[in-house]
């Protein structure tokens, strides 16, 4: 879907990249989070430290990795440690500023399901499972989520909570003894949502250019509300678009396929 010179996927990736500050230590999921985090590194955050669960710390890949353990991550990292060390010393050790996650399904309190759709024993759809996400979402100081928005992915009720957002809302997360602050933004191809103060329910904080409120309603499985200050997301700049397209083109040339797949 092209509008005014950029696609909704490009808008999503750029909006997500902007959220990652320079110098942050970021635990990166593969797919959309990895694309956005590397775009941030190439734009405004050259000193961001990208950590992948396979072991690379400070990875600076020239092209996007297809898998979480591609050789280019090891070759460009400051150091490569074992997977137990990543989870024990670095994540549980609370050395991660930002956990950057994708989501198959998400609810109004930013809880995430990547396990099953339907009954656990007789699932309608068997999803890949947890990976590193349950502990990233609780042990990272804060969490960014990037996901395409639709009624299938933004649902009223999750069949399985793989990773904790704000649970039932309010201070439920703190009451469960979770240490990290949790999701601070959910970036989609339509808008940016953030947890409302107090209720912790996701509300629309900014709408991407060309997207209507009706479209957001039509692609959300609950009666989504809009922040009082909800405005329009800044459109991608020319520099943002050039750097993103260049990264994806380099990736496609290296892997023989477009590299923005989740």
């Amino acid at each position: 879907m092209t509008m005014a010179g950029f696609t909704s996927d490009e808008m999503m990736t750029v909006a997500a990249a902007r959220r990652l500050g320079n110098g942050a230590v970021c635990f990166v999921g593969i797919g959309l989070p990895s694309t956005a985090a590397n775009l941030a590194r190439l734009l405004h955050a050259p000193d961001v430290v990208l950590i992948y669960e396979s072991g690379p710390i400070g990875a600076k890949p020239a092209v996007l990795p297809l898998s979480i353990g591609d050789g280019i991550l090891a070759e460009t990292a400051d150091t490569v440690v074992s997977t137990p060390e990543i989870f024990r010393y670095w994540l549980q050790g609370e050395r991660i500023d930002v956990g950057f996650l994708g989501a198959a399904q998400i609810d109004r309190f930013a809880n995430i399901n990547t396990t099953v759709i339907g009954d656990y024993q007789r699932p309608t759809v068997r999803l890949p499972g947890a990976g590193g996400a349950p502990e990233i979402s609780t042990s990272a100081m804060e969490v960014l989520v990037i996901a395409k928005q639709s009624k299938r992915s933004f649902v009223e009720r999750l069949d399985f909570i793989t990773s904790a957002g704000f649970l039932g809302g309010g201070n439920a997360r703190e009451r469960a003894g979770i240490r990290g602050r949790g999701p601070v933004a959910v970036i989609t191809d339509l808008c940016v949502l953030r947890p409302e103060e107090g209720s912790r329910e996701l509300v629309v904080a900014s709408i991407h250019p060309g997207v209507t409120r009706e479209k957001i309603h039509a692609n959300t499985g609950w009666d989504v509300r809009f922040d009082r200050d909800c405005g329009e997301t800044d459109a991608p700049t020319e520099v943002e678009l050039v750097v993103l397209r260049d990264l994806l083109a380099r990736t496609a040339a290296a892997h023989g396929k477009v590299g923005n797949a989740a």
């Binding site: 353990g69 050789g71 890949p128 396929k257």
Partner: protein, 288 residues
């Protein structure tokens, strides 16, 4: 004490029906050749464990080798679903597959606990999720010093762990580098360990802190060049990304999977022959 043997001999000697088996390798150094040999020798009722059961376990599950899978992420990295795994879980084909699901952090800690000869792992995990109520293997313990409630999960102690590495010397000391995943922990947690390697060398010439598995913690070492393809071996060959994409089509239907398995694994004598058949097929396809 490590013995240099053929891969078929190593699997015949060390892997038995019903064993609890780990084939580890985190995207890198995945022991595909060993997985194929398990299929060729028709092992049954295996209880498999692996953090990331990707194509290698899709093949073992589709071939009917497994009764149970313990895992934390099951997908075709960068491509999509594992169709044979999903068919087993969703439809019980080719037989029912019991699953024990955990997170990466849990399984990594559980291998560490196994290597440390402890019965369980303790970690800060799963708070607020559905895991605890869904699975009896995830419980809570209270820290005797601070009172903090922490997750406790059973350690992983395989009967056999199989890994692929870059080099081993004459005695069977093994050296691996690059992305190491949980291979060292998985080997030290297991009763028996089989290692396939790219190269047999006179001396490892490894720096002092390199990841070396001494020969006396390894049961068998097998020389299998390219034994990790279509995954990669750092310093030897790249990941065969095209095969991961091809696998999506091969594995999508039961018939196409069965035909592939017969032609490429069951009807080939060893991994060398598998590589030749693969190369012929791929050359034919690209010529068309």
């Amino acid at each position: 004490m490590a013995e240099w043997v053929s891969l078929s001999e190593a699997i015949a000697t060390h892997l038995h029906d019903g064993d609890f088996v780990a084939l580890e390798g985190f995207t890198h150094l995945i022991p595909f050749a060993a997985g194929h040999e398990i299929v060729r020798q028709g092992r049954r009722r295996l209880r498999l464990v692996r953090m990331t059961p990707d194509l290698i376990y899709d093949q073992l599950i589709g071939a009917g080798c497994a009764d149970k899978l313990t895992f934390s992420w099951g997908g075709n990295p960068g491509v999509g679903s594992l169709h044979r795994f999903r068919d087993a879980v969703e439809n019980g084909w080719p037989g029912p597959l019991q699953i024990e699901e955990r997170s990466h952090s849990d399984l990594a800690n559980a291998y560490v606990a196994g290597a440390a000869n402890l019965p369980f792992a303790v970690l800060r995990a799963y708070a607020g999720t559905s895991f605890e109520e869904a699975f009896p293997h995830i419980r809570r313990v209270t820290c005797p010093f601070t009172g903090e409630r922490l997750a406790a999960t059973p350690s992983i102690r395989p009967d056999v762990t199989i890994i692929h590495a870059q080099k081993a010397d004459r005695k069977g000391n093994v050296l691996l580098w690059g992305i190491l995943g949980v291979q060292k922990e998985a080997v030290l947690a297991a009763k028996r360990a089989v290692v396939t390697v790219e190269e047999r060398v006179e001396a490892l010439d490894a720096p002092p802190n390199a990841c070396v598995l001494p020969h006396w913690v390894v049961s068998a070492v097998c020389l299998v060049p390219r034994g990790a393809t279509p995954s990669y071996a750092h310093g030897y060959y790249e990941r065969d990304n095209a095969f991961y994409q091809l696998w999506d089509a091969i594995s999508r239907e039961r018939d196409s999977f069965a035909a592939w398995l017969k032609r490429h694994v069951l009807d080939t004598a060893n991994f060398g022959e598998y590589l030749r058949v693969q190369a012929e097929h791929r050359a034919l396809e690209s010529a068309q």
